[in-house]
Every structure is written in structure tokens, then in C-alpha cells.
């Protein structure tokens, strides 16, 4: 609580009037991969997401959703435009600050990115260790988190010994265990059955209610249509639509 307040103060000092209420603020962002024959992956993206919002990003395969997520966690840097996340201008960020910045995020990667030679427990605990939690807290938080994603019994397994959906849930547990201010989830239910998908979505809603800004990339039409959240639709690198209480757009 005290920390959150401190952070708020910092925010009002650093950010301008306009973007301070947005945890994610993109202005005229362009991104082209150097080895893609100049075809841009994202073009003139303008996007503002307020603290505490729940946003779906949808769009065809290859429309630039993952590229957008990667910009937000500074895995990639924009070719031009402004990317401000958690009041940090990512285009100007120095290497030394990146780690600290990323710790305020929770990220579920489309390809999971689990540490192959560590078991489920250690993978999730790793996120806690980098924020210097005590072993005592870790021993409390990690099993809690694992049972929330339905993997309490698998804590000793290595990623290779898990099914696709189980790996995906470990990735989610790792992203959530630090109670991040922003959760970026790239296709977090692609390998999950409808029941598990529902459970996970309920979990994300709960996390969102507790104050975390949630950005979910998904292809799951059912979920998008039933949850009635803000929906941003990408098409070939541009924002096609951005609607409050939106639905999955089929063309």
C-alpha cells in the first residue's frame, strides 16, 4: 500500500499531465522487423490503457499482436513513436533500468519460455527470487499460486514432463506470482480446454479486480464475446477497431 502511494507520487513527477493516468500509452508507434523485406509489423499505433483496465487484443494470425506485447515489455524497441509503460519511456530506457522495469510486469509468453532445467516450483519461485522475496514468503506464495492454476500436484515436474496446457499454466503462475501492476498475456489459453480456459479467465478477472491492469491476446471468440471487456482488433499491423464491451469481429 505504502509502496503504491510512493509510486503514484513518482508518476506525477515524471509523466506529463496527459499520460499519467495511463499505465500504457502508445503514440504513433511503428515497428518493422529488419529481416521482413520492409513490411512493417505495426503501423502508427495509438493506444491508451488506463490503470485497472482489462483489455483483449485480437486479430488474425500475423497481424502484430505479439509484436505489440513485445514492445510493451521492451523485448523490442519501436522504430518510431512513443511507448510509455508504467510511466517509463521505453524508447529512451537504459539497459540498467530494464530489469527493474520488467519486474513491475507479469508476462505470459506465447511460447511459454520456461526454464527447461528447473522444475515447476523453481520456475515460479524464480520470479519471486529476482524481487528478493525471502525464502519463507516464497514457500508460501508459490504453492498458493500453483494451486490457483490447478498444478499443485505437479510442482516437482520439469517442463518437458508437462502437457502443453500444463506448461502454459506454469507460465501464467510465474507471471502472476509477483502481483504485477500490469499483466501481459500472449495467448494464455491456446493449449487449454474450455473448462481450464474458464478457470483461468476467472482468475484473470479476480487479479484485475485487485488492481492489476490486464492485457490478453487471444483467439478465443467465446471468451471475448462472453466477457464483455474492451476489445482491440489488429489487422495487418494497424488498429482496426477499439471498443469498450466489444466482441470478436469476424470479417
Amino acid at each position: 500500500m505504502a509502496e503504491q502511494e510512493k509510486e503514484k507520487k513518482k508518476k506525477s513527477r515524471k509523466g506529463g499531465k496527459d499520460d499519467s493516468k495511463y499505465v500504457i500509452y502508445l503514440e504513433g508507434v511503428n515497428k518493422a522487423y529488419s529481416d521482413a523485406n520492409g513490411v512493417p509489423a505495426l503501423m502508427d499505433i495509438n493506444l491508451k490503457i488506463k490503470r485497472g483496465e482489462f483489455v483483449f487484443i485480437v486479430g488474425d494470425s500475423g497481424s502484430g499482436k505479439s509484436t505489440l506485447i513485445k514492445l510493451l515489455l521492451r523485448e523490442l524497441t519501436a522504430d518510431s513513436g512513443k511507448v510509455v509503460v508504467n510511466d517509463q519511456d521505453l524508447t529512451k530506457m537504459k539497459h540498467a533500468q530494464v530489469a527493474k522495469f520488467r519486474r513491475t510486469l507479469g508476462v505470459v509468453f506465447q511460447d511459454f519460455r520456461l526454464l527447461k532445467d528447473r522444475n515447476v516450483y523453481d520456475n515460479v519461485a524464480f520470479a519471486q527470487r529476482i524481487v528478493l522475496k525471502s525464502e519463507k514468503e516464497i514457500r508460501k506464495n508459490v504453492p498458493n499460486m500453483l494451486s490457483m492454476v490447478g498444478l499443485a500436484g505437479k510442482y516437482k515436474a520439469k517442463p518437458k514432463q508437462l502437457s502443453g496446457g500444463e506448461q502454459q499454466r506454469v507460465a501464467l503462475a510465474r507471471a502472476l506470482v509477483n502481483k504485477p501492476t500490469i499483466l501481459l498475456a500472449d495467448e494464455p489459453t491456446g493449449n487449454l480446454d474450455p473448462r481450464n480456459t474458464n478457470d483461468i479467465m476467472k482468475l484473470l478477472e479476480k487479479v484485475n479486480e485487485n488492481g492489476t491492469t490486464v492485457v490478453v491476446v487471444t483467439h478465443n471468440r467465446d471468451i471475448v464475446n462472453t466477457m464483455q471487456k474492451r476489445v482491440i482488433t489488429l489487422k495487418q499491423g494497424v488498429i482496426l477497431s477499439d471498443e469498450e464491451k466489444g466482441a470478436y469481429i469476424d470479417d
Binding site: 515489455l73 523485448e75 539497459h95 540498467a96 530494464v98 530489469a99 527493474k100 522495469f101 520488467r102 519486474r103 510486469l105 508476462v107 509468453f109 519460455r113 520456461l114 526454464l115 527447461k116 532445467d117 524464480f126 520470479a127 527470487r129 529476482i130 524481487v131 528478493l132 525471502s134 525464502e135 510465474r174
Partner: protein
């Protein structure tokens, strides 16, 4: 912080077991390289020692004027002994000279009945460093009462030359082996860590600091370096003593003019050098290789 330190240390140790392949390969490379390196250091030490022994056997012989008295001879001997380049100075009476010389002649000496070297009492001067022979002779020429200075210019020059070649080759070989060892070990460390590039990237993407990612790898490097350099030192120590014993018992006649350097004299240098190389490369190798993958 204390927490992090122990975690880091623990991860370093765990890494050693987690990446068995890499650990084995690095250990093997370090051990093999330092083993060869150690053998050469040992051989070079002994060769230099032998050269040194031979060097000490080269002498300058001084003959005196016929009228010179024993007192003056003793005086000269005194003066010569005091000079810094002189290692030892022996007086040889005429009879001793002939006894010695006839040994050299072998059976040829049988033809002589009386000492043909009468009046050839002399001083045998042994030097610390053959290359100083010229200097000594220069001095001796100024000393009164000396009839003749018998120096073996050829032997001295040859020995100086051999010494130079041996030194060149020794330093060259050890330098080369050192360079190749360091290169090969770094190579292995680099491959081994590059394989884990993805792991490093993931840690960074999740928000770990450079230090947090790197420290376990550096610990791992130090541990492997330590073990990898300790193994050949221990093996070499026993091997050295065994070889020593073997040579002394099987080539006993060589003992007259060759003496070996005792293990302790070699290992007092070799052991710390090996450990330093092992640990150093373990440290710097992992430090710099990990750094390459941190910028994501």
C-alpha cells in the same frame, strides 16, 4: 541480500550438476590442458636444471709463473674466490693434475712413467654463469704471477648458445601451451554457456538483473575451474615422483651428471599457477560469455 548470496551460490553448485554435459566437457578440457601444461613445466624445469649443472662444471684453469711461491698462489686464490661471478675456486697440485689428466687420457696415459705435467699446479675456477668467462679472464690478466690462463672459449660459447636455445624453446613452449590452454578452455566455456543462451534470455525477460543472472554462472565457472585445475596438479604430483623414481633406478649411471629437481621445487610454482589459470578462466570466461547474452 544474504539470502540472494546463498541462493546464487546454491544455483552455482546446482548448475554444475544440472548441465552434466557442459560440466564434464569443461572439466575434461581444463584438466587435459593443464595436465599437458604441467608436464611441460616439469620437463623445462629439469632441462634448465641440467643445463645449470653442466654450466657449473665448466672451469677456467690458471697456471703460475715458475718462480711463484705457494703463498702468492693462496693469495690469488683468495682474490679470485671473492669475485661475484666465481662459484668456486680449487687449487690443484701438479700430482693431482696428472692424476686427473691421466684419467682423461684413459689407456693412453700408460705410456708415461713420470708426471709429464710437472710444474703445472693450477687453480680451477668454476663460474656462476659461463657467459661471464670473458670478464673473469680480463681480470685474471691483470693479476701478477700468472703465467697462463686456460679457458675453453668453445665450451663456454657453446654452453651459452645451448642455454639460450633451451631458454628460447622453453619459454616459447610454455607460452604456447599456456596460450593454447587458455584459448581452448575459453572456447569450451563459451560454447557451454552459449548453449544456455535461451535460459539467460528468459531470466532477463522475466526481470532479473544482470548480476542476478550472471552470478550463478560465475560461481559455476569458478567451481569447475577449481576442480578442473586441482585434478591435474594432484595427478602430476604423483606421476612426477613416480617418473623420478623410475629414472633414478633405471638409468642410475645418469645420476652422475644429471640430477633432477625435486617435486616440491616444481609444484611450489606449478600448483598455484594451475589453480590461478583454472579459476581465472572459469571466472572471466563465464563472466564475459554471459555478458554477451544479457542485452535483451
Amino acid at each position: 541480500m544474504i539470502n540472494t548470496f546463498f541462493y546464487t551460490l546454491g544455483q552455482g553448485v546446482k548448475n554444475v550438476f544440472r548441465n552434466k554435459w557442459f560440466t564434464m566437457a569443461s572439466l575434461a578440457t581444463i584438466s587435459a590442458c593443464l595436465f599437458v601444461f604441467g608436464i611441460f613445466v616439469a620437463v623445462v624445469f629439469n632441462v634448465n636444471h641440467i643445463v645449470k649443472t653442466v654450466e657449473e662444471g665448466v672451469s677456467v684453469t690458471v697456471y703460475f709463473n715458475e718462480d711463484v711461491e705457494q703463498e702468492r698462489i693462496d693469495q690469488i686464490r683468495e682474490l679470485v674466490t671473492r669475485r661475484p661471478e666465481v662459484y668456486r675456486c680449487d687449487f690443484i697440485s701438479a700430482d693431482e693434475a696428472w692424476a686427473e689428466f691421466s684419467k682423461k687420457l684413459g689407456e693412453n696415459a700408460e705410456g708415461f712413467i713420470e708426471n709429464p705435467l710437472e710444474g703445472s699446479e693450477n687453480l680451477q675456477i668454476y663460474l656462476n654463469d659461463v657467459s661471464k668467462q670473458g670478464e673473469l679472464v680480463g681480470y685474471l690478466e691483470t693479476v701478477e704471477g700468472i703465467r697462463k690462463i686456460n679457458k675453453s672459449e668453445l665450451t663456454a660459447n657453446t654452453l651459452t648458445g645451448v642455454k639460450a636455445v633451451v631458454t628460447y624453446v622453453s619459454v616459447g613452449m610454455i607460452g604456447l601451451l599456456l596460450a593454447v590452454s587458455i584459448f581452448l578452455i575459453s572456447n569450451t566455456v563459451t560454447i557451454g554457456i552459449s548453449v544456455r543462451k535461451e535460459e539467460i534470455n528468459i531470466m532477463k525477460y522475466v526481470g532479473a538483473t544482470d548480476f542476478f543472472v550472471r552470478a550463478p554462472f560465475v560461481f559455476e565457472g569458478i567451481i569447475i575451474g577449481l576442480i578442473g585445475s586441482a585434478i591435474p596438479v594432484v595427478v602430476l604430483y604423483y606421476l612426477y615422483n613416480a617418473a623420478f623414481a623410475f629414472l633414478q633406478s633405471n638409468f642410475a649411471f645418469l645420476n652422475d651428471f644429471i640430477s633432477y629437481v625435486p617435486a616440491s621445487d616444481v609444484f611450489i610454482y606449478l600448483a598455484p599457477a594451475s589453480l590461478l589459470i583454472g579459476v581465472g578462466i572459469g571466472f572471466f570466461g563465464s563472466f564475459f560469455t554471459v555478458r554477451k547474452h544479457l542485452h535483451v
